[in-house]
Amino acid sequence: MSWLRRPSEAPLWQDEFSVFTADERYVNRRQFTKFLTLTSFAMLAGNLWILARSIFYRAPKYAPLAVAALGEVPVGAVKLFAYPSPRDPCILVRPADDTYIAYSQKCTHLSCAVYYARAQNRLECPCHQGYFSITDGSVLQGPPQRPLPRVALETRDGKLFAVGMEGERT
């Protein structure tokens, strides 16, 4: 048995616009089913578009930026800077003597500026009490759903350079 419809002997107009009420029910249902199937194809096209975007995605490259000299920031202190553009505030923290770590300062909930709570050794958002881990930027509590984007740091000639962003949204 063939899956495909047998070619109709009647002309197309008669096939699509039946004069019989009983047949009209079939035509309406067939056309509605065709519409639903085309909608399903549109959903598939959307998924394929996302797949194509994912395959051809290239992480943006940012120019390195000197953030601070080694030893400029005391242990337990912070330095604010902007990276990769002047509109992107970031925070550099020195939680231990040989540890430097930097994150975007925008809370992933509603973009309030996070600050470093030294006593608790975490980043806190004052707006809705969203707390982030200082070690990996993950959410410890509060309404934020995503971790803070981390600034990749490199040491060159005694200076700390921001060289990229990790965990940015697409």
């Binding site: 063939s2 899956w3 495909l4 419809r5 047998r6 109709s8 039946s18 019989f20 009420t21 009983a22 047949d23 029910r25 079939y26 035509v27 249902r29 067939r30 509605f32 089913t33 065709k34 639903l36 199937t37 909608t39 399903s40 194809f41 959903m43 598939l44 959307g46 998924n47 394929l48 996302i50 797949l51 975007r53 994912s54 395959i55 995605y57 995503r146 965990g167 940015e168 949204r169 697409t170």
Partner: protein, 78 residues
């Protein structure tokens, strides 16, 4: 004009197929929104399974449409 029993059965089968297509379509719409949300959050690994499952759902819809189309053609010719 009364509808013949064979035609009534045909209509029931078509209605069942349509209901199934609507169900599959709802799942596909949810899948697209979930994949898009995941992609925008930076999780690009969800795109491949999303596309594969969406393709399977579309093939199921297409199969049901061909079934409806063939049934419609057969019954109206009888």
């Amino acid at each position: 004009m009364s509808v013949r029993p064979r035609q009534t059965r045909g209509l029931t089968a078509i209605d069942g197929a349509m209901a199934l297509i609507v169900l599959l379509l709802i799942v596909q719409i949810w899948l697209l929104s979930a994949t898009l949300e995941s992609y925008l959050a930076g999780h690009r690994e969800a795109a491949i399974p999303g596309a594969i499952i969406s393709g399977i759902l579309f093939l199921a819809c297409l199969g049901l449409y061909l079934f409806v189309d063939r049934l419609d053609s057969q019954i109206r010719k009888d």
